[in-house]
Amino acid sequence: MIDDKSGIQWNSEDPRVQRLGTFFADFHPLQQPEEWVTYEVFHQRRRGEQHVHVGSVHAPDPELALVFAKEQFARRQHCSSLWVVPSSQIHISGYENEDMFSTTPDKTYREASGYRLRHKISSYKQAQLHESDR
């Protein structure tokens, strides 16, 4: 193959490369939009399960993003469905507000575990037992 700059003959160790013909010794920088835009990928393993964020792909539009996401994110794992969403369309709650999510201990009234009845019932039963003993 021929070096595009010096015209010198090169031999690649890779026969596949050798067939491609020209050897690019020169550097031609990529323009930014050439790498397209990013789409976030959500993967559903099986019907009935949640879609889970697994990464992102570069693509010019959603259809091609789906075509690419299929092989990058579902070539090994079982998959029932994929979603892609433009990264620019994701809205994020900032980590600086992470403390908003912590609840104080006295919010147990809205948890099932906040309602403990067994001991009440047992002490009632115990009291009943005493009564009948008398």
Partner: protein, 327 residues
Amino acid sequence: MYGGGYVFSDPEHQIPPDDPEKLAEFEARIDRGEKIEPQDWMPYEYRRQLIRLIEQHAHSEIMGALPEGAWITRAPGFKRKLALIAKVQDEVGHAQLLYSAAETLGKSRADMVNDLLSGKSKYSNVFNYPAKTWADVAVIGFLIDAAAIVNQVANSKGSYGPYCRALERICYEESFHLKQGYDAFVALATGTKSQRAMLQDAVNRWYRPIIHFFGPPDQESKHSKQLMRWKVKMASNDDMRNQFLDSYVPKVLELDITFPDPELRKDPQTGRWQFGDPDWAEFYRVINGDGPCNAERLAVRRLAEAQGRWIRQAIMNPQQSVTIPFA
């Protein structure tokens, strides 16, 4: 796959001073074992070194596809042919995942690719050596991928969320790489005389690059202490190299394949492996561009990018501004 010995750059002279309060909060988070996410505040130097690290890792994956890729059309038999395509495909996939992780820190993939193609960015030295025979494919798949696993498992416990998540998936796939590489290695080692000779020859040629793989011996510097504290650098080069030698030297010797280094032995007292002088000057020569395949690797990447340009450009939207993944 990826090597250690990444080139962390020296701290720049004009690092903008970090807000001490935010810095303390950031370091406390890391001390608690929590991950840092892209939207978090982070020290200037943390961001800069991470971009560098993840980017070099990504470059190494895409460059790593080349030496083995050279044998895709010659792989002997269906099983090897399919496994090698799948393995090289995974390496391309790793590059994709890692570039995405680096992008979350604010550098676009186009910028990173440009820095690779211009020669500004580094990648693992090990891919600047040629794969001369089929046995090289076996040695790479077994020993280089094994070394890469040691490195990547360590890094997966680092502090930056997107990098750790990418590495989790990568390490899962690397275990397939290692298995198929070991399988090909054992097939040659237990094969005909000339298959064994071919394998021994490949091991001889790859021994030094493998020792170089984890980078030069650790120097205690204030700089690397900080990167360790921030969980950017996760283990010392020497520790990782030792761990690798511990696990894999016996597996090679068991097959009556030897290493071309009479000084290679484990010190029973210290538990550390000793080896002959691996010529660190060569390591620096190669990383600075003067290895047996540096020119070819760069030229091939440029060729691949140049060949794909008409496709990328035909369906790009010039008005669209660059976006980066959010996680």
